[in-house]
């Protein structure tokens, strides 16, 4: 059904980049469920397109789900894939890259290419850039402070020792530049930790498994979880709702568990393992020592643990989803308890199949 508060009609072309990914494939399904009949999915040549093809097979006759393989590093591919699109959901990004240059190339250069191509496209009404909580700096807030959309973004992402963070900060930066310089009608969505079937495991915000020992680092911290279907709902609304150009939306669920609660439930529902709790003072001190050693040794150990990153990952913080509720009318469709149940079930199945 057409909605007056949406900027596009159901026959308008919607492009989803990164459409075969964990979030992208569910976003495509969400758009189809909303009745959008003209969805173009872009996947990397190396992607497994099975998930999107399955959607294509189940689409009704009236719907057109187009799966295109292309490389966003190619300007020609970008021009071809953005042609005629009214809304672009840009989810493609370099994930899991250890090299900053690779992450930058696959996040920032690709985003620039998509935006450049989009500007030639007069039908574009909205460009949704999917970012991450990782872009925020958390150093200037007291313990237990609130992280919301007004919080500053990391000014020195190179100091975080994380290729993904650097690339995402720069990606947001260039999207804003294209907004102010060329009038690109963008919206930035920054999900917390997106979990659910397809992204099994334990976030580093809870702890890290190193040399066979699980170090529990989160303690009583709230973990900014966003169940994948809830996150997708927010992303979809960010692309469709009228009057939110230039806005940033953080996406987290309600009733967030603490790190300790999550770990306890994980052990109860998925598998038992031994973990050692490292108090915040100790993890902060170790991060400081690692950072100092990295600097003193001129990078013999890379600065993967450092105070800047600690502030973002393990400092006690509160999270808000007020803006996404108020401006986009987002509500949490899958309650946290149900989301965790599905997540643990997927973890168990994965463990069985591994």
């Amino acid at each position: 059904m057409e909605r007056d508060d949406f900027i596009v009609r159901q026959d308008d072309l919607i492009l989803v980049t990164g459409a075969t990914g964990f979030i992208g494939s569910r976003l495509v399904a969400n758009l189809m469920d909303r009745g959008f009949r003209n969805v173009r999915c872009l996947a990397r040549p190396s992607s497994k397109i099975g998930r999107v093809k399955a959607l294509s097979a189940s689409a009704s006759d009236a719907s057109r789900l187009e799966v295109v393989t292309g490389n966003l590093l190619s300007r020609e591919d970008c021009a071809a894939v953005t042609r005629g699109a009214s809304v672009i959901f840009h989810l493609a990004a370099g994930r899991g890259e250890k090299s900053v240059a690779d992450a930058f190339l696959n996040s920032v250069v690709t985003t620039r290419n998509v935006m450049e191509a989009s500007l030639q496209n007069r039908s574009l009404r909205r460009f949704v850039n999917v970012s991450s909580f990782t872009v925020y700096t958390n150093g200037n807030k007291p313990k237990g402070g609130l992280l919301d959309e007004t919080c500053p973004v990391e000014e020195h992402p190179q100091g975080r020792g994380d290729a993904y963070c650097y690339a995402k900060v720069k990606q947001d930066e260039i999207v804003r530049q294209y907004g102010s310089r060329f009038g690109l009608p963008y919206v930035i969505v920054r999900p917390g930790y997106v979990y659910g079937p397809g992204n099994e495991g334990i976030t580093a915000r809870v702890g890290i498994n190193t040399f066979g020992i699980f170090l529990h680092l989160g303690g009583s911290n709230t973990i900014p979880f966003s169940y994948v279907d809830n996150c997708v709902e927010a992303i979809a609304l960010a692309g469709l709702k009228r009057g939110v150009e230039g806005e940033v939306f953080n996406v987290v669920d309600d009733d967030l568990p603490s790190s300790r609660q999550f770990l306890r439930e994980y052990k109860r529902n998925v598998k038992r393992f031994r973990s050692i709790y490292l108090p915040h003072a100790m993890s902060y001190s170790l991060s400081y020592l690692w950072e100092q050693y990295s600097s003193w040794s001129r990078g013999q150990l890379p600065p993967v643990f450092n105070r800047r990153d600690w502030q973002v990952t393990w400092k006690k913080t509160r999270y808000s989803n007020e803006k996404v509720k108020a401006s986009l009318g987002w509500t949490q469709k899958v309650p946290t308890a149900e989301g965790l149940r599905r997540h643990f079930e997927a973890c168990r199945n994965r463990g069985r199949n591994a």
Binding site: R44, P45, S46, S47, N71, G96, E97, S99, V100, A101, D102, F104, L105, V108, V109, R112, Q158, Y166, K170, I174, W296, S297, R298, G299, Q300
Partner: protein, 381 residues
């Protein structure tokens, strides 16, 4: 102060910028990439004076003494030629060029211009590689080497570089004559080339697409390669590249007339193999003890270097760059001889020629070995 520039600002350029930053007496005056954003990110992350998207502009404005070429291999020859003609010394990342002919032309141009050029065979300058070289030079092997074995393996997966290559039929690596092999094996081949005395050793190559890759639908990326190199019937060598064997070795073994050596690049260990045998049961008990002592010695040495902040992952690259700069400043010999660079290129050319000929001749053949398939043809005729 030696003025350094980098062209190509991708992943390997990060390593270059990082290692150059650890060398005294030089500064990075400029970085250049056709993609301005890539040049800018490198500039922002390292102490670099300026960034460019045009090579000529960087050469004229930043006026570097040395340039590091970190672009894809297809462009090495053209960029190095421009830089040499502009009077700049050149460090070319591996593989040096696409073929031996280009390599010969670059070396000739460098000599003509009175400049220096080197190849990024930095694995040959790690701590253990240098120790091995010293032992060989001191005569530890006796006469020889009689035989060498170079393993240079690569774990192929669905993620990262390999994933992108396997999924993208237009990937630049596929345009190289040796495809994946071309981009990876030069480290392992150069180790052999360093110790081969003939200018034209006999090369017999056999390669195939592994069943694992075939299952992924891959038909043209050869990821299993075995090579025999014969040096005028005096020295022989085996080269092995495998994406499937485990452990995924990076080893170089040398056997002389008296003793042998095993270098393990992954563990950073160098083990001496004693040529002489102990009497009776002593042979069963003494060598294991000696090996244990050697491994402990390697551990002690590695720890000592780590504690002394001299055990970086790219220590070989730093040493090679530093040695190259020294050879420029002091006009001393180059760390890698031109002969070795050219012989590496020649052996690689021969390997790829044999594999490509075989692929053309034996469409659909399970194994591609030029010599063996040619022989089979002769029998049939």
């Amino acid at each position: 102060m030696l003025k350094v520039a980098i062209v190509g600002c991708g992943k390997i350029a990060e390593a270059h910028a990082s290692q150059i930053g650890r060398i005294d007496g030089c500064e990075i005056v400029g970085v250049c990439d056709r993609e301005p954003l890539m040049a800018q990110q490198l500039y922002e992350r390292f102490p670099i004076k300026r960034h460019f998207s045009d090579l000529s502009e960087m050469l004229s404005d930043a006026k570097p003494d040395v340039i590091h070429i970190c672009t894809p291999p297809e462009s090495h020859y053209d960029i190095a030629t421009i830089c040499l003609r502009a009077g700049v010394h050149v460090y070319v990342e591996k593989p040096f060029t696409v073929d031996e002919e280009q390599a010969r032309k670059l070396v000739a141009l460098a000599i003509e211009k009175g400049l220096k050029i080197t190849a990024g065979h930095d694995d040959q300058f790690t701590h253990v590689a240098r120790r091995m070289r010293m032992l060989v030079q001191s005569g530890f092997l006796g006469n020889g080497p009689v035989h060498m074995e170079s393993y240079y393996c690569y774990e192929i997966g669905r993620s990262g570089y390999a994933g992108a290559l396997l999924g993208d039929k237009g990937h630049w690596v596929r345009r190289l004559p040796g495809k994946l092999l071309h981009n990876i094996i030069s480290h392992g081949v150069a180790r052999i080339a360093e110790f081969v005395s003939s200018e034209s050793p006999q090369v017999i190559a056999c390669g195939f697409v592994s069943p694992s890759l075939k299952k992924m639908g891959e038909t043209e990326i050869i990821d299993e390669l075995r090579v025999i190199i014969c040096d005028e019937e005096s020295t022989t060598a085996y080269f092995t590249f495998s994406s499937q064997m485990r452990p995924s070795l990076h080893q170089f073994r040398m056997y002389g007339s008296e003793n042998g050596l095993i270098l393990d690049h992954d563990d950073e260990t160098l083990i001496k193999l004693r040529g002489a045998r102990y009497k009776s049961y002593a042979e069963k008990f003494v060598p294991p003890l000696q090996f244990a002592a050697q491994y402990l010695g390697n551990l002690r040495g590695n720890l000592a270097k780590f504690l002394a902040r001299d055990f970086h992952m790219k220590s070989g690259m730093k040493y090679l760059i530093e040695s190259f700069y020294r050879s420029i400043v002091e006009d001393s010999p180059l760390p890698i001889s031109y002969r070795e660079i050219l012989l590496t290129a020649k052996i690689m050319d021969e390997i790829f020629a044999q594999l490509n000929v075989s692929q053309l001749q034996g469409e659909g053949a399970e194994t591609t070995s030029a010599r063996s398939s040619l022989k089979i043809k002769e029998v049939h005729l």
